[in-house]
Subunit: 243 residues, 2 copies
């Protein structure tokens, strides 16, 4: 577990200035993995180059994706950042207690929402946990690059302080997010076929609830196989019957 | 010693954008005392207003000085910030050990140098101590507002520290273990009916795996209802068919 295991992921960032400032902050703390999902103004971005100052290499090696799912597919543990209190059943811990969450994780992604609105509930549902920066209750909206900065800082301290160094055990155990996503989309399509996701206006929130339950659960590959077996077995006869 | 005892002082700042972002960061952490010494582009500054977002009140109540000496005249203890190693005979401590320096101080000033060069040796000499942000040795130049952000954050934690406990969202909503157990035994009996828990010698370990998945998950009552719905719905037709 070290700098190269951490992936900073900007979701739908709006301002190039913030993307550049993010790159600089990452380099300040020795990180280099930047991923960008659907940047509003396209990519590459001239304004990002200006504010990146000496960190243009981070911008040049960044990867751009057209969906959150693709951006996290190869990662094992996703931390969502939010300044608002969110009504989701996920554990939320203060940022300076990061080390409690990242033990035994192999590839960790931290997702940051867009400047104006933060992460949507659907984006938030893909995360394993929420980490909150403690702030003034009456003014909790933090600049995007400032949030990245604080995460970089806290991870840097963690990795530099040998006493606190998280130990990686059983590193192959936790499934990649792409495996979890495959499993979830299997459940959802099965449920859709038998008419469970009705009425239509509740469908989206039901899907988010199901994602919430399974994404936060650190499922291993073996457990996913078991759950797939469970659902497939329950579903097989339904499908037969429908046909 | 509290938020109002801390004064953030920008020395010869060059970019209005950074002054505005500084104001926002101060407000994020409940600080309000901003002092500015000889801003390059004069004062007030339109670009600062733009990046301050909701913290225009901090800019409006900031005080502008024409010398560092005047800006710190009424303060008791001055902390200088630097990312470079400086050849001055002053004690330098890491930022997360702030508390060791600020005990028993009444009014504390933190001085930040201009973007391009940082504090001059002469300015540095006005400080009681140097506090350094730990960074990548090969890229230690931190954006001005990012440095302010980190100081705000560390002071905020210091003043707020109540042994930050992890918080689980909606803590009243977490289901009792008896509810989880009821749900799990429902799944298991459904699976048993349709012959999923075979062969017999693997049954026990399959049941344990299923328990493992759902017990560690802090399910809420609402989520249990959803899962029960999911399984019941998948199962209904199976049962009908078996009967």
């Amino acid at each position: 577990m070290s700098f190269k295991n951490i992936y900073f992921i900007l979701i739908r960032p709006q301002l190039g200035e913030n993307i550049g400032a993010t790159a600089r902050a990452l380099k300040n703390f020795n990180f280099s993995n930047l991923r960008i999902v659907n940047p509003r103004d396209g990519w590459p971005n001239e304004k990002a180059k200006v504010t990146s100052v000496g960190a243009i290499n981070i911008l040049n090696s960044s990867k751009v994706y057209n969906s959150l799912e693709k951006a996290v597919a190869d990662l094992n543990f996703i931390i969502a950042t939010t300044s608002r209190n969110r009504n989701v059943n996920k554990i939320s811990i203060p940022i300076d207690q990061l080390n409690k969450k990242i033990k035994n994780k192999k590839k960790i992604g931290i997702i940051f929402g867009p400047e104006a609105s933060g992460l949507s509930n659907s984006e938030l549902s893909c995360a394993d946990c929420i980490i909150k920066i403690p702030t003034n209750k009456n003014f909790s909206s933090i600049n995007l690059s400032h949030s990245v900065m604080l995460f970089g800082y806290e991870f840097y301290k963690l990795f530099k302080n040998k006493k606190n160094k998280p130990i990686l055990k059983n590193k192959n155990l936790i499934a990649k997010k792409s495996e979890v996503a495959k499993f979830i989309s299997f459940i959802i399509s099965s449920l859709d076929k038998i008419g469970f996701l009705q009425p239509q206006h509740k469908k989206k929130s039901m899907i988010n609830s199901i994602k919430n339950i399974f994404y936060r659960n650190n499922l291993s590959n073996k457990e996913i196989r078991i759950l797939l077996g469970v659902f497939a077995s329950l579903n097989k006869r339904n499908i037969k019957k429908l046909n």
